[in-house]
């Protein structure tokens, strides 16, 4: 076998091995999207009921609660960024990071300090590589978040929010995550969680929650007491939902990235095979012409000696 041909054969083997890996990752992600979507769907009844309850209390009572009152002189804002733990998911993490950077710029231009909280190893490594300060980060659950994870994350955020600004607390809480729109589209979104903007509170089907008419509830123990207990739950459930949507988006992005990697590998194998075939053909042609040339030379030599 000629040297050229051997080189092609080796490259075909290595690309085929890569293709097998990307194909397997594609199929794993495809099966996980379904699971992640089911988790999103399973968490919606709770989120919807909670959203309704929060809106009901906030609209029906005149309770001035720190979690719903806008601070006109906000000086510090927290941004929670949700990214992936692992790479090979196309632009998934970098799109979310870019959205967070844009949001941080905007908040800074409004004269607010930005405190960053991060979920997912990719976001952490982006910030630490650039020596950007991160208040707190969580890793290890980005592809299968549980409600407990959401609780740990929100506990820190709510604590930061309830701390006085002078003592290192924050006045606003923003969330950057990736919304799972379909298998093909996932868009990074940013939203302000706290203080609560009642007009923008939406149910899972994108209807504003305020459009419903609420009965005149009796609040026990009191409207303030209920709101006190409800709002942290509401933040938790919003963060939980964002984590689940981001997980579904991550799997979908990874599936797409791995699918195009597999397609590219196939394409590469095809063109390498063509090159290998023509190299083999060239080798054969050369051998034949060498044999014919040799035979001719022999014939000529013999003819001369007679």
């Amino acid at each position: 076998m000629g040297a050229q041909l051997r080189v092609y054969k080796r490259r075909i083997r290595s690309v085929t091995a890569t293709k097998k890996i990307t194909k397997a990752m594609e199929m794993i992600s495809a099966s996980r999207i379904v699971k992640a979507q089911r988790a999103v769907a399973a968490s919606t009844p709770y989120a919807d009921e909670l959203t309704r309850a929060v809106t009901a209390v906030a609209t029906r009572s005149n309770a001035k609660h720190p979690l719903t009152t806008e601070n006109p002189t906000a000086t510090r804002a927290a941004v929670l960024l949700i990214t992936a733990d692992r790479g090979l998911a196309g632009g998934y993490s970098s799109n979310a990071i870019r959205a967070a950077v844009v949001l941080s710029e905007r908040l800074r231009s409004e004269g607010k300090d930005v405190v960053t909280y991060i979920v997912g190893r990719k976001g952490v490594s982006y910030y630490s590589f650039r020596n950007l300060p991160v208040a707190k980060s969580w890793t290890g659950f980005s592809d299968q978040p549980t409600y407990g994870d959401a609780k740990t994350v929100s506990a820190d955020l709510i604590e930061a929010f309830t701390t006085e600004t002078a003592e290192g607390g924050v006045d606003e809480l923003h969330l950057v995550s990736t919304k799972f729109e379909s298998m093909l589209t996932q868009t990074p979104v940013d939203a302000r969680l706290l203080p609560l903007k009642l007009d923008e509170v939406q149910l899972s089907d994108d209807r504003p929650a305020k459009s419903e008419i609420f009965p005149l509830y009796d609040f026990e123990p009191s409207a303030e007491g209920v709101l006190d207990a409800l709002l942290p739950r509401y933040v938790e459930s919003r963060i939980y939902n964002a984590l689940l949507q981001s997980a579904a988006s991550e799997h979908a992005a990874r599936r797409r990235a791995m699918k195009s990697a597999t397609d590219n590998a196939e394409e590469l194998i095809k063109s390498l095979k063509r090159l290998a075939n023509s190299a083999r053909q060239a080798e054969i042609t050369q051998e034949i012409s060498e044999i014919i040339g040799g035979a001719n030379a022999l014939a000529d030599a013999n003819a001369g000696s007679e």
Binding site: S43, P45, L50, Y147, P215, E220, A229, Y240
Partner: protein, 125 residues
């Protein structure tokens, strides 16, 4: 006869839903029983068992940890971070958790384990 439509929802799933005649739950201000026609109410739930009497005469008991009960238009929504039906509760695990909590004097975990055991129909000393 009027009936209640009950939804018992945990953070990550819908635990139970159906028709009932009365729902008894423990709120911050004591046990409340809700029957059809009750005035709309929204209150904070304590860790405790929730009893639902279904229209066909059966009883559904669940252990609920932290959450809310809201009632309006004969519809009861029970929201809980954690909610388990009595037959889903792993009794031996809850007993172990109770022992562990008692030995570490962790009142919170102890209460959770107790509620599970009560809901599963065990006597707790």
């Amino acid at each position: 006869m009027a009936e209640l439509h009950v939804e018992l929802v945990a953070a990550d799933r819908k635990v139970w839903s159906g028709a009932a005649t009365i729902v008894v739950a423990r709120t911050a201000s004591g046990d409340v029983g809700i029957m059809p026609g009750h005035t709309p109410v929204l209150s904070v739930l304590e860790s405790g068992p929730v009893t639902i009497r279904t229209t066909d005469g059966g009883t559904v008991i669940a252990a609920v940890h932290g959450g809310f009960i809201s009632f309006a238009d004969n519809k009861v929504s029970l929201l809980a971070e954690i909610a388990e039906l009595a037959d889903e509760i792993d009794v031996t695990r809850a007993e172990r958790a109770l022992e562990l909590a008692n030995s570490e004097s962790d009142a919170h975990a102890g209460r959770r384990a107790e509620v599970r055991l009560v809901a599963a129909g065990r006597k707790v000393a």
